[in-house]
Symmetry: D2
Subunit: 401 residues, 4 copies
């Protein structure tokens, strides 16, 4: 098909030209005397994006799923109890992994469309008098529903319960797009992948571990070799990896970190907030509602749009893809056929998003959804124009400075 694909799934995200260029490297000896120049900067840069003061970052040739496993396998033992709210497909999958690794999971079932309930977490922790719960596992941004939990609030709940459990956070679809404060929130294990806010292809699973998490390593009895923190740390200390890293992704990561810092992390977060607001304005203009039940949970990286009853969201997605070259995210699990998802994260600008909104409109119209052509586009334009003069020029000025 002529022209560019409009990739608006909530990850992988659009590959920026700068990153594409940076990944165009010949193979090289990853044991050379020169290689550490590359690696040291990556750990520093990632810590900055995580907001991590004390702690260590691990980069696995893997994915977010692998990083999930690394975070668990290096800090927990078979039979350990953990507490995990379930409010979407990805919190579900993580819980499934925990169980299969032999952990005992106390699941806090939560209606999809809401986020981690600080109250229920506090309650569960207060009930755990013997401190058997070793970890509280929260998905920061539930990609399935477009819901962002309040990690600072979860930390406050844990503090109020005076509970020593480690705080595990899945930051896969938030890191680099939504403000994340690893040290301030006293997160112990934060997990991400390369293909979302870090604007790379999939292939890196990244874990940020606090000193407490690292201390848990000695007693953790789950098996780990490929995902071992210890093996990584030993090699990383001199700038190397215990096995062959995916070199193009590392060069790409160096560039994507530069892009984030060039734009300024605060500007990046503000841009995502602004884009998310405009997308929600568009959804409202269509007469539809986001899957997310309350403004406090609104995600700045993904919006799940509930389609009217009797309309098949899957058919809209297929039409968007086949007819308009627009990739939208599907509804997952119980949401299959009921929602389509718009990813609005990564290397994006207004016109890319407006093109996507226009395409979603056309696909919905093609399937009989009752809406006015251009209405969502107009709502987003209005949201973004209002902001544009003030915000954009501030951003541009910041970039120029």
């Amino acid at each position: 098909m002529p022209g560019r694909n409009f990739l608006f799934v909530p990850g992988p995200t659009h590959l920026p030209e700068r990153v594409a260029r940076a990944m165009m490297v010949p193979s090289e000896d990853h044991r050379s005397v020169r290689f550490p120049e590359l690696t040291f900067g990556l750990f520093e840069g990632l810590k900055r994006v995580f907001g991590c003061g004390e702690g260590e970052v691990f980069i696995y040739p893997s994915t977010g799923t692998g990083a999930w496993e690394a975070s668990l396998a290096n800090t927990l033992s078979p039979g350990d109890k953990v507490l995990a709210p379930r409010f979407g497909h990805f919190s579900h999958l993580w819980i499934d992994m925990m169980k299969r690794l032999g952990l005992q999971v106390e699941v806090l079932e939560t209606e999809w469309g809401g986020g981690a309930s600080e109250d229920r977490i506090a309650q569960a922790l207060r009930a755990d008098k013997r401190h058997e719960i070793k970890g509280v596992m929260v998905v920061h941004n539930e990609t399935a529903t477009g819901v962002a939990s309040d990690i600072a609030g979860v930390r406050r709940a844990m503090d109020e319960a005076r509970h020593p459990a480690l705080l595990y956070v899945d930051a896969v679809s938030s890191l680099g797009s939504i403000d994340f404060r690893f040290s301030e929130w006293r997160v112990d294990l934060a997990v991400t992948g390369s293909q979302k806010g870090l604007m790379l292809p999939a292939g890196l699973g990244i874990v940020c571990a606090s000193p407490r998490a690292l201390a848990a390593e000695t007693s953790a009895a789950l098996n780990r070799v490929f995902f071992s923190f210890a093996d990584m740390r030993k090699a990383n200390a001199t700038g190397y990896f215990p096995y062959t890293p995916s070199v193009p992704l590392l060069y790409g990561l160096r560039e994507s970190l530069s892009m984030l810092f060039d734009e300024g992390l605060d500007n990046v977060y503000a841009r995502h907030a602004r884009f998310a607001h405009g997308v929600r304005e568009a959804v409202a203009a269509w007469g539809l509602a986001p899957c997310c039940r309350a403004p406090r949970w609104y995600s700045n990286t993904v919006t799940a749009v509930a389609v009217p009853p009797r309309v098949d969201a899957a058919a809209i997605i297929e039409t968007a893809f086949r007819r308009y070259d627009l990739a939208l995210g599907a509804g997952l699990g119980p949401l299959a056929g009921k929602v389509f998802r718009i990813g609005h994260l990564g290397d994006l600008n207004e016109l890319m998003l407006l093109g996507a909104l226009a395409g979603a409109e056309m696909a919905m119209l093609d399937h009989g959804v009752s809406l006015r052509a251009g209405s969502g586009v107009a709502a987003a334009q209005t949201a973004w124009r209002r902001g544009s003069v003030a915000n954009r020029e501030r951003e541009v000025a910041a970039l120029a400075a």
Copy 2:
């Protein structure tokens, strides 16, 4: 700035990924025994795009301007008389070149916004009883005004006047996007560049010459070495070039020709027609008018939009670029500040164009143009949805076949 630039000047056009990949080649020996495999296919493919049966194609490491010069220098002599309608900036520049090369140009001044008048051409030719006019020079698609002349009509006019002049056509912003029939229309010299419908960076100037044009070479007394047909033909005959060609562009050309043939030239032309129609619908929805004065001249590759009095089109263009990363074409010559131009040619799809229309709306609104946000987008969506079910699936089926 984050995200992709929306490049909607009427050339250079968006570089397709396939072409970008194809141009990623190491340097190679352009005198090797293997090189002709590359070159022979290019001449064949270009002839097919020109619609040229008998004739020869020349590829210069140059631009459309260079190809203009090649077409003149190889077929005319100092003092030769030519007839040229002037109805825009590019017809103006070509006439300027003719004069500077020592030709006598009978200029048919035409209001900008119209195309080559077949009647006036016929009249001028009939008046030339001695057949002193050696060439009729017509810009097929005047990029400055969004006007497409009727080359078949011009040929009819020449035939009716029974005049033997050669027919020179500037097809720079039409070839590969608007139907072109070199042999059927008995064009003698057609000129194009690589950065428009051929979807490449600038750097190739291309001339298609008829047997009559080639015959004119022997008597043509204008100087030529770099642009010599004879030197080219001699080297091309064995698959080589008289001097070092720009190899990445040749590989890119091979790929862009494949793209055109994969889509099907007729589908390519239909797509451009459909896109142009939608853009004009958007312009009408904005309450504005195209610079082109009559439907018979509507260009399928570029629309020049006249802004309301007292609004500065140049300011709109600058805002579009700086604030929304949208590149629009400026008004040229007498149209400076009065129009902005939207290129809708090359490797494009609906959503790219809708993003551009949305951006143009925002920039116009930012400068006080009175229009409803989303109105142009909606008009184009409607135009393209109507077409989409029928046309697109036909195209897709054709591609799959």
Copy 3:
């Protein structure tokens, strides 16, 4: 430094231009209706390279180390006994992994420089009357010493012992370069990575599993989620992956498989054999010896060159890198400082290797090794010229056919 790096470590190997181009892809939706077109071909192609008739291939976004873990975790249970000859750094590391995963490893210590002893394997298996040994673990090509074990011979030994253990083979630095016959040799689990004979960056860990291996999955009690065969199989069945794959690597793999098939697997193996022979001729001309103790173990992908006593191989390697931009492999473990390794696998030709041999000569001369400049180059030239007329033209003809 000006010019190209000469990468002659035994992996990662030189990235071919075709593969580099193929990996230059935009991000795309790995859940799209079009994605399976890509994936199905990869499994078929890999099976062909493994020589696998019945069986399944799994592709993890990981490395050879991850694939090691996948092969073990999906087929074995904690406490299971396995038999593993140790004759180099990589067999050592794999054994280390087995132990850390809770397996009981009967290690057959073998002098480095030799390969897996069929006799000792047969002996150990015969001694295992109760068939407690669940797996025989053999590194096909020990990259540390330049030794290729005889997998067909190992299989014969197992057959003679009438032992039902599964046969696990590390084919990381052999697959795609040295003939591998998964089904003929009745290998049960073969493991490889992307950065050797498959000519890609690191980032894919690949496992080929026999029906018997797949049957072992149900009883295998080792933990696995990220590396689960079952999760992979379920998603792969429809052309997808259970988590986001590294899309550029998959496109790269499609192209590298095409390159292998275009050249012809037998031609690829013959080329590697010819190159390895010439390198050994060079080593002999230098008056040095390969680390590999006997011709039957000669590796066609890597030669470890023992330097004279009192010469520091590490210094030679550093000089080669810093002064001549040549990356050689270091001696590992007990071989550190005693050998340097030349990788001669992947997308190579004679002149690349001759440049590397010339560079190794210069670096050795710079460190006082007594040899004649050009002597190794001359020996290899002679080996390759003799072959060139006959062999190369045969290869070229085969390619053209």
Copy 4:
């Protein structure tokens, strides 16, 4: 064929990875407000490479041949007399162009293998009492024979003859590789292309013009439009071009200039001198002689090697290409079949050149040339090792500083 092509024609030269990456740019609006940031630096950088203080640089989307034409057409009139020594294929072609443009050329025929004779130039100029000779046209580095003329010496000869002719220099295969001092030597027009020392694909023709050359423009009556200095200057003044430039080449040029300045121009020249010396040592070790007749003319960028009588150099070149993937330059004109040429310019290191020398040896041996395998390689190794400790570390230190 597997592996990389060894490109050792004297241009186009090997494309460095940095340049390849830099050229991977999307199309962009060459009239944008941001474009001049790119262009201004190019003119400055090129002036630095030319050694030009006062003067102007023009960049044409063209080739060296086009730049030849630009230098003539902007400064001379039909019938003007020029003086031009002919001592190789490229001086011959330039003279041919002069004649075809209507100039009267006084040719100083010189045996191929020598360079421009300062004495004969002085003599001819002294004989021109009326100062009818408007230009002295010298090829700095005659690529056909591997001969570098002494431009400083030519200037001295012109000074001694007190002749006001302009000094035109073809620096196509010298600029960026051999020291060039436009202002110090008072060159008036220097011409180059992008595909030699500037390490780019062909596609840019570059002219550096002195104030005297620019003054000649007003009276110059040769036709010029595409190649007009005046049109270029007018657009360049604000950072633009009169017609669409080849944007990837401009980004590539920015990078290749950076590479030259990063290495240091003096280091670049020293490296070329060192490489040329080693190649000549190899030729001597083969028992052959360079085409260049005297050390004073030795070129640092290309060596033409005369093969023994009864040996067909063309067959050696074809074998090198087909069998060893080595591209050597052919003998041109009267040298066809008698020499092969090794280009040793651009982004090269020792091992690349040693691979090429080894390949040339093999091809010569295949055609019965009597030489010892490895002999040329050994001679070059010795030349380069001697230099390597001292020179390379100095270069490396300079780069690090």
